[in-house]
């Protein structure tokens, strides 16, 4: 092992070449992800979460909510379920298999808030839990709100004129 490492990082070689040799070695050693199996899991679980969302969406529309309000209500229900399952530790169990299938839906957003917050309990319920809730959600809101604000500004200056 040690000899191998010595050969890969010949100190006589320039630094750039050593870096590339290292990258090659890491690529060789690190296990290849089972892409097909991961994709099937992601499809099945992600699709299932969206189908559950559709069930709530249809239900709320049937109760007389507008499409927009039904969408908000669906998001609230899904976020509640995901926060609950994350608290029980179940969401992360599913996520080990489902990968992107559990990250992409809005349930993944809720999971990304609760999971770090649970770890923050030792640091207190204000600066621990309160701050960690936004360790992943913060960047999402910053980028999302900034992009949407920019859209609004562009629309104001370049959009169709209202008489």
């Amino acid at each position: 092992m040690r000899q191998n490492a010595k050969r890969a990082f010949d100190p006589g070689k320039p630094l750039e070449m050593q870096k590339q040799a290292y990258k090659k070695m890491v690529k060789k050693v690190s296990p290849k992800p089972p892409v097909i199996r991961n994709s099937i899991w992601a499809f099945a679980v992600g699709g299932f979460i969206c189908a559950v969302g559709q069930a709530f969406l249809t239900l709320f529309q049937g109760l007389g909510l507008s499409t927009l309000d039904a969408g908000t209500a669906t998001a609230i229900v899904l976020v509640f379920i995901a926060a609950f399952l994350t608290g029980l530790g179940l969401y992360d169990e599913i996520a080990r298999f489902a990968g992107a299938g559990t990250i992409v839906p809005i349930t993944g957003f809720a999971n990304a808030m609760v999971a770090p917050a649970l770890e923050g309990r030792t640091e207190g319920i204000v600066m621990g839990v309160g701050a960690r809730l936004f360790s992943v959600a913060g960047p999402i809101l910053v980028l999302g709100i900034t992009a949407a604000w920019l859209v609004g500004i562009l629309y104001y200056f370049l959009g169709p004129r209202t008489p």
Binding site: G47, C50, A73
Partner: protein, 118 residues
């Protein structure tokens, strides 16, 4: 039928992201995925591509986090239509307020009530 569409379209978005995570050399964390989806949703919504997508796929388009970006962008545009420049500041977050509040409140309670595992 709409259930099948939601399942297939939502599932396909997840597969695309999964392949992106597995097959690229970048270290793509869940945070990066979610930020990318929201931003993509905002851009697609702004150019008018997301609304037809929602009409086609229902929850398959709204449940992935790109749907959150769509709500933000449409909120900003509607805000400008009704409130001018001020609406660009008000509209986006106002439209997404329900989801954001749910995530904060339920997330906070879940983190307080449950014990971390391990």
């Amino acid at each position: 039928m709409i259930f099948l569409k939601a399942f297939v379209v939502g599932g396909l978005i997840c597969v695309a992201v999964q392949i992106l995570m597995d097959r690229t050399n970048f270290k793509v964390t869940p945070g990066h995925v979610l930020v990318g989806l929201v931003t993509a949703g905002v851009v697609l919504s702004a150019v008018g591509a997301y609304e037809p997508f929602v009409k086609f796929a229902g929850a398959g388009a709204t449940v992935p986090l790109s749907g959150f970006g769509h709500i933000l962008a449409q909120g900003a545009i509607k805000g400008v239509q009704s409130g001018g420049l001020l609406g660009a500041f008000n509209g986006a977050v106002a439209a997404a307020a329900g989801g954001i509040t749910a995530a904060v409140v339920f997330g906070y309670f879940a983190a307080l009530l449950f014990k971390p595992k391990g």
